[in-house]
Amino acid sequence: MDSGSFKKVFDKYYDNIRNFLYYRSGSIEVAEDLIQDVFLKLWENREKIREESVGGYLYTIAANLIKNHYRRNEISYHFLNSLTQKHNTESPEYLLELQEFDRHLQQVLAKMPEKSRDVFLMNRIDGLTYADIAGRLQLSVKAVEKRMHKALSFLKEHLDIKI
């Protein structure tokens, strides 16, 4: 990979890798900080990496960096939600209910095991297909499906409980 394609790779993967780091840490500062190290590593090794496998490479570096450099306490999410920001036609009760559900969902997501949560969020927020996710996380598509099912079961079980 040459310097010209480096920018293309950056443009293609930056948002998703930053999101991935956020999913794993719950901190946007950590995510935006560590992602610099991810791409620095890519830059230093750019001659050795083939463009086809760069996605898997980036996610692997990201996962390693998070594991080593970030002591995981309890994480909590602060996703922005365009649904709860629309305060026009909906009744206040409906909006309140949406916000309740949103809050609850983000809490449950924070408790979900990493393996299934990665897949769930990469699919719903990054909009990646199972095939994309499989390539980036170095899994089979079947394995991705299984993790997605696990995520949905986890959600069913935990969302039903009112806190």
């Binding site: 930053r18 610099q36 949406l98």
Partner: protein
Amino acid sequence: MSEQGKSRKNKERPPEDLSSRAMEMAGHYRVPAQRSREEAWAVLQEKIRDRKQETHPVKSRRLPRRVFSVAATLLLLVAAGTWLLFSTVTVTTPRGKQTSITLPDGSRVTLNADSRLTRKRFFFGRKVRFSGEGFFRITKGAGFRVITPEGTVTVLGTAFNVISREKTLDVACYQGRVEVAPAKEKHPVILKKGEGIKIAGDKVNNYNLKEEKESPSWEQGLFRFRDTPLQEVLNELERQFDIRIEYEGTDERHYTGSFRNDSLEKALQMVCIPMDLEYIIRDEHTVILKPAE
């Protein structure tokens, strides 16, 4: 399955709906990013540049005997290094004045009244912080960035006008290409020669420059307005002549016209006559405007 999971408090829906509801809601989630991709790219470029200058670490050896003086020297070096890294230079224009500055890379900026430009003293990095209005003529080379509270403008050897005032960012491209990355949005916008964009909170207006011009007319002291809210015109009058305008009237109207900044009386006439206003110059720094009788 836990016992709690089996009870359905207040929900008529079967469990399947909850997970699909969750799927649906999560689809609307966005990560609360604080930095745009272009800003991150700029930061990365600096780190790469810094890496290239890094020397190899020295092999560790036994500590010298005079540890305290070494520590003191180190502290001084760190302090000096920090000052070197972060020391900035700022140019400010007051009301009633314009000024022109040249940057270390040869780029030139003309500042309109009441504007401010800041750069790092020693590590210029082709990056400035800016607020107010300025016309930028940038020399060719790797990305030059103008950072304003409302967004970052990135360019490559070009000329453009930036207005960053009152939570508004207005960029017009006069030469080459300009990239505007609003602070709040995901997607940067690219402007070509003759195109402009005005971002005020959630409102975004794309516009075209009316004539083939090389630079905005305010550099020659001429201020033109087209369908501009009257209050903005009055604000520019205040800036150009360093006065305060007390306006007794409604602010809703729009003004199309121009004034020069060489004579206050003439400028006031240019604005007041078409708008049916009267002006009273109370003293050197105060003007009162009200609807004509």
